[in-house]
Amino acid sequence: MAGSIIQYVLYLTILVALAIPLGAYIKRVMYGEKTTFSKIFTPCERAVYKVLRIKGDEDMTWKQYLVSILIFSGIGFVFLFLLQLLQGVLPGNPQGLGGVNWDLSFNTAASFVTNTNWQAYSGEATLSYLTQALGLTVQNFVSAATGIAVLFALIRGFTKVKEKGLGSFWVDMTRIIVQILLPLNLAITLLLVGGGVVQSLKSAETVTLLEPVAVSAEGEILEDAVIDLAAKTVSVDGKIVSDAEIVTEQFVPLGPAASQIAIKQTGTNGGGFFGVNSAHPLENPSAFTNLIEMISLLLIPAALCFTFGKAVQNKKQGTAIFLAMFLMLAAALGVLAVNEQNAATALSENSAVDVSMADQAGGNMEGKESRFGIVASATWAAFTTAASNGSVNSMHDSYTPLGGMVQMLQMQLGEVIFGGVGCGLYGMLAFAILTVFIAGLMVGRTPEFLGKKIEPYEMKWAVLMCLATPIAILVGSGAAAMVPEVAQSLNNSGAHGFSELLYAFSSAGGNNGSAFAGFNANTVFLDVSLGLVMLFARFLPIAGTLAIAGSLAGKKRIAMTAGTLSTTNGMFVFLLIFVVLLIGALSFFPALALGPLAEFFGGIA
């Protein structure tokens, strides 16, 4: 018990201890200041500008910045869509996999361009190495960089006075990728491979099974069969089953996995190289690799809070926002930890099953790996749903009802508890604008934030940003619930079946990408509808953020007075959390009542 608590505390401590220096580094890079690595990276950055004739001091208006993002993302989308359709005739395909059908290609392209990385497929059975490396790995980098770039455009909106420009999207992207993401991921990848993650261009291995398995002609496993390997016969209860097949070999998938796994974690992408993501022992083989993957999952989103404080020259503001996020994360982690360790009553089977912590992790081990146990699984689940990452090291579908509800709720709150790289923080700043507005109404003053007046124009966009996620999730899951064929996609019945559907749309609407994975999302209707939800929930807030940034940059800075509402004290942190929870609770209580809450109370009755 004490050991578990120490583990939980250390995970959070290591995260914060690494996030603070990284936050400072990111700030220096983005403002073109000197860093320890400038000598190596700055020439690389300049080389990119030279080849493309990009001017380092270009200053885009918010509309130009937005159009650049849309066109850049559009190119990435089309490229990834075509790459999947055509992978069957392209090289880099040692498994000889065929092209992906159009609806799944659309879904996956939308998913990776929007930094969601929802996966309606299993990587090892569907995608060629070329598609993984040239398509998915690249989108992992650029979609993450896009989120961070938009955040910096917003920061410039706060810091610039009576100007039009928000900086250059091209310069921001190049700096983020060349100076931050590439070096960080090179280092992480090597640690992961050393820890046992595969990184190979060879085709998959086949190995001999210690105990062969008999399979009937119908594809059923013959559990009590006696296998005679010499005579190649299978007998059940003394009778020979003539058409049974003896399976003597196991499939061992390979591929350029570690390189993609590093960026899937650091870029809050979350798309697994293999179908079961970081639960797969070749994607996350040990407690060591798990520690690295799990910390890198929240590292940049947490670091950006401190970057923000430095960039707006108000470190306390960065800390206040960090605290609001951190407190909500800690609360979510607490609920998950307690529920999973206590396990479900069905599991203890009238005390025939030992769920204690004696020489084992104990608790609800369904869908969890032995090497991670409850602590590392629950912590990952809390981190990944907070961070809009969506990678998993345990199967969320098999969590207890309240554990599953916390995962869903973190996504439904708009992915602002750290959230995706960049997008989590700009989403949270929209909530901060909403908070100063509400607080301003209460004390009867014009709302202002970081020296800029908040007026109707900013408010309209901020409200749209805060409501984009609830609208996307509720409209999407509501519509899907009316489609009869969707019922066939469910893996569980009753309230938990509804939870699977709600989770899918929460994941898409929050640009998270994790799943209650029993849900079969690869149907034409679900591929297309989830794809559209992801695109809406990604690009509407980006447009809102840039519009607000453009408007704020043009305003004069107003002096702080005694009457100015402080946005850095404990009261503001409390109000911010309150507003986030209020909007989430009001929007989602009815839906949650039909899913996880119904399942929870059904279990008690």
């Binding site: 050393g194 595969v198 089977e349 090497r371 009753g494």
Partner: protein, 202 residues
């Protein structure tokens, strides 16, 4: 004022450069380093003895022999993968079942009955949870020390080894928590069985 055409050509150029940097150069360099520095890990941690590839150290297999250590419950997949000759290859997937459902309770009850039947020496002792649950990957190569200890008497009865010898093998295949803190203590099931069978030196 920039035209959309200018933005388009710049976006396309940048996308091409990032594809070359992140898709080709980064993946290629990392693969090169991995193959040179960690050839075993980078290629699936395959256990090879006398020229036979006896599985991956990191992928679980399924066992029903009383003289072998049993692992996590596997949800076997015999439909997705075939080798070049069309022969079925074994793989496995998670259950994704809700632990509160009636269907699940029935599954657990059946597993409890089967495991109790196979381990008469343990009588009414509660079964460690690892042995009745499916893992997150469906391919978990490990079980907890408690789950291994539960099977020692059965393995001893079915093989000609003493319980002390079996415990010694299990201990040799046990990995502690990382730095004594992170993750859980685990027993590698395939390695244990290869030592029990004398394929790997115990």
């Amino acid at each position: 004022m920039k035209t959309a055409k200018e933005i388009l050509s710049r976006a396309a150029g940048l996308f091409l450069i990032f594809t070359l940097l992140c898709g080709v150069a980064y993946t290629g360099i990392v693969t090169g380093f991995a193959q040179v520095l960690f050839p075993n890990q980078a290629n699936g941690s395959i256990i090879e003895a006398d020229g036979v590839k006896y599985g991956s150290e990191l992928l679980g297999q399924t066992y029903t022999d009383d003289a072998h250590l049993w692992g996590r419950i596997m949800n076997l997949d015999v439909t997705t993968y075939q080798d070049a000759d069309g022969d079925t290859l074994l793989y496995s997937a998670p259950s994704n079942l809700s632990p509160t459902s009636e269907e699940y309770a029935a599954l657990i009850a059946a597993r409890v009955e089967k495991i109790r039947g196979a381990n008469p020496a343990m009588d009414e002792k509660a079964i460690p949870v690892d042995l009745v649950t499916c893992s997150g990957s469906g391919l978990d190569p490990h079980i907890s020390p408690a789950a291994a200890e539960y099977q020692v008497a059965r393995i001893a009865a079915a093989s000609n080894k003493s319980e002390a010898k079996i415990r010694e093998i299990i201990a040799a295949c046990t990995t502690g928590k990382f730095l004594g803190i992170f993750g859980e203590e685990t027993v590698n099931v395939l390695e244990t069985n290869l030592m029990l069978d004398g394929i790997l030196p115990a």
